[in-house]
């Protein structure tokens, strides 16, 4: 209990966990009593997906301090590798939860591998260049998956980048990834409960990382790369570490996404760079570097348009305006100066010092 009182970070983390658990409990009880419309029910898994994605991107933008616009690409990799595994083993592993857990592990590993491989060249760059190159990688991943054909027959797997015919499948063979049509017939293993468990797991990984020696090293790189290098922090290693973990978590969100739908296609609207920007929106509106904020904003911004149907057309426009205003309010040197001058906290403090005088 002492730790709860004295350690602000620990207290913050506990509050974040509790928040997620309480919301989960409330939603579950509402679901059990039938108070949730079927439309909202359909949104529960997407909310989990967005929350996980937002946490992943916040690790990259807020903690590592580098803007990645390619997280939709990592999601795409995770989604396809997870769905590929599930489809291949649908007959072998009949216990759905076991298969889903394995799919998640595989999706996370493959996405991390991609994050690692892409991170090696990309993390040598900074700022704008890094953003545009991650965007490029995301688009490349999406484009390549759109022309990728994979089939399975008695001789094993066949790959092609041209069309279905050039797979040369034997009789009884099955096309698993069918180019632009993607993967169809993925088992529907995702559920709100699974999403909840994954959010808690993600939180556990990310919050513990932030609170560890490695996490502090990563944040020191964000705050001053040259200074942290000069005290012996291996910049490349820690950058790669954060980026890989972030990519892996995005991959998990992808697996969850793939198993929520019957057919999985890599389209601009689900894995294009607009998706990356939507996730970035959640991160910025929730507060860059604030994990709890990401969770809240991802959930609220996903559910809000359904609650306010009338505003649906204006929703994106409003988000864009709020995004610009928030950035200026939080980062503009002139406004920061003003806020310092006229802040409530300062006002109270000044009063106190005057009284003492």
């Amino acid at each position: 209990m002492n730790r709860f009182k004295n350690n602000k970070k620990f207290r913050d983390n506990i509050i974040t966990y509790l928040l997620v658990i309480v919301i989960f409990a409330v939603v579950e009880s509402l679901k059990a009593t039938g108070h949730i419309s079927s439309l909202m029910k359909g949104l529960l898994v997407p909310v989990c997906i967005y929350i996980i994605c937002a946490i992943a991107l916040n690790l990259c933008v807020g903690i590592l301090g580098e803007l990645s616009l390619g997280h939709a690409g990592f999601m795409c990799v995770g989604a396809f590798s997870g769905a590929f595994f599930s489809k291949c083993t649908a007959e072998v592993i009949t216990v759905a939860p076991v298969r889903f857990i394995l799919a998640i592990i595989i999706g996370a590993l493959v996405a991390s591998l991609f994050g690692f491989l892409i991170g090696i060249p990309v993390l040598r760059l900074k700022g704008d260049y890094l953003a545009i190159v991650t965007l490029a990688f995301g688009e490349i991943i999406k484009n390549v998956i759109n022309v990728l054909y994979v089939g399975k027959d008695s001789e094993g797997f066949h790959f092609s980048l041209k069309d279905m015919v050039s797979l040369h499948l034997k009789e009884g063979g099955q096309v698993i990834i069918n180019g632009a049509q993607g993967i169809t017939g993925t088992p529907n293993d995702s559920s709100f409960e699974a999403g909840f468990v994954l959010i808690i797991l993600t939180l556990f990984i990310v919050l513990n990382l932030i609170d560890s020696r490695d996490g502090r090293a990563i944040m020191s790189i964000r705050d001053n790369t040259i200074a942290s290098e000069s005290v012996g922090i291996n910049v490349t290693r820690y950058k790669l570490m954060a980026f890989t973990i972030s990519a892996g978590i995005a991959g998990v969100a992808g697996v969850l996404y793939a198993h929520n739908l019957n057919s999985l296609m890599a389209q601009p609207k689900n894995f294009g760079y607009n998706m990356s920007i939507t996730i970035l929106l959640f991160v910025v509106l929730g507060g860059i570097g604030n994990i709890r904020g990401s969770i809240i904003s991802a959930a609220v911004l996903t559910l809000l348009p359904e609650l306010l149907r009338g505003l649906a057309d204006y929703r994106m426009l409003i988000y864009a305006i709020v995004l610009i205003i928030l950035m200026i309010f939080n980062w503009s040197p002139a406004i920061l100066e003003l806020r310092k001058k006229y802040s409530v906290r300062n006002f109270i403090k000044n009063k106190k010092t005057k009284e003492v005088e």
Partner: protein, 294 residues
């Protein structure tokens, strides 16, 4: 002969990229920011011409001039409202994310006004196609106008920057903002001017792009915008001849890979070029080396 046709198409597309890249490279060179919304200003320009021509029935030349003015005003406004307050912010990400926000705003504004349906853009250019070698190679009027206007724009820009006082001020600001201010250069005004020129060029690019590729949606500008950024990086960011060369080469690469490799993979190939350039020669073909100061 078919190769020659592809090559000409490539140069034509490349010229459009080059014009967009000129805007990118100037803004990047002077304001040191990646203006993500640049591509969407192209889209605004195209829609402006589309509306002026189909609704008010103005002549193509007048509507293009008006569209350039609209985009110039838009560029200056965006800079003043969204980017200027963030100059000197603690994190370089702040202005980048704001630019993404502006891009998002323009796209959704267009979506709200014009809807998601594709609009058919009627070509502004009315010129007979040129046939060479007994008709085996044809060059459309759009291609000719695109290439000529690209070269013209580059020459004009180079003269403007090297011969006029405002152009010299731009060079000074791009070199060192603080020192330029001390020497009496109006830094904010110069940056506004840069945005104005870049956005005006974007309107012309929008006209040329939509004349060759007539389907117009709110997302028309974003991909060419990003590819033009690739071109600017390829040629060396901040360099005007670099943007021109980078744009032309990128256009040729895109059309040739569409023709000979795969039409679906052409975007991936263009982005691969960016990644390779940044890894092998991060300053691009004609860029200057930058030393990091501690």
């Amino acid at each position: 002969m078919r190769f020659l046709n592809y090559l000409i198409n490539g140069i034509s597309l490349g010229s459009v990229y080059a014009i967009i890249a000129l805007g990118y490279t100037m803004v990047y060179g002077i304001a040191k920011m990646l203006n993500f919304a640049h591509g969407d200003i192209i889209m605004v320009g195209s829609y402006a011409i589309f509306c002026l021509m189909s609704l008010t029935g103005l002549s193509p030349v007048v509507s293009v001039v008006l569209a350039v003015l609209i985009c110039t005003a838009l560029g200056i406004t965006v800079e003043a409202i969204a980017y200027r307050p963030l100059r000197g912010a603690a994190s370089p990400l702040a202005v980048l994310i704001t630019a993404i926000g502006v891009s998002y705003f323009l796209q959704n504004m267009a979506l709200l006004i014009f809807g998601a349906n594709t609009k058919q853009f009627t070509s502004v250019i009315n010129m007979e196609p040129l046939s060479l070698f007994g008709g085996s190679v044809t060059i459309t009027g759009e291609t000719i106008v695109t290439i000529i206007s690209c070269i013209l724009i580059m020459v004009l820009l180079l003269t403007f920057i090297n011969k006029t006082k405002a152009g010299q001020a731009m060079l000074a600001v791009s070199e060192d903002q603080g020192a330029a201010k001390l020497m009496g250069v109006n830094v904010n005004g110069t940056i506004s001017l840069t945005f104005a020129i870049g956005s005006g060029l974007a309107a012309i690019a929008g006209m040329l792009l939509s004349s060759s590729y007539p389907s117009l949606t709110p997302y028309t500008g974003s991909m060419p915008g990003i590819k033009a950024f690739v071109a600017a990086v390829f040629g060396g960011i901040g360099s005007i001849p670099g943007a021109f060369i980078g744009g032309i080469i990128l256009g040729i690469i895109e059309i040739l890979s569409k023709a000979y490799i795969s039409s679906q993979l052409s975007d991936a190939i263009v982005f691969m070029v960016l990644i390779i350039v940044l890894l092998v020669r991060p300053t691009g073909l004609l860029g200057k080396k930058i030393q990091e100061k501690v």
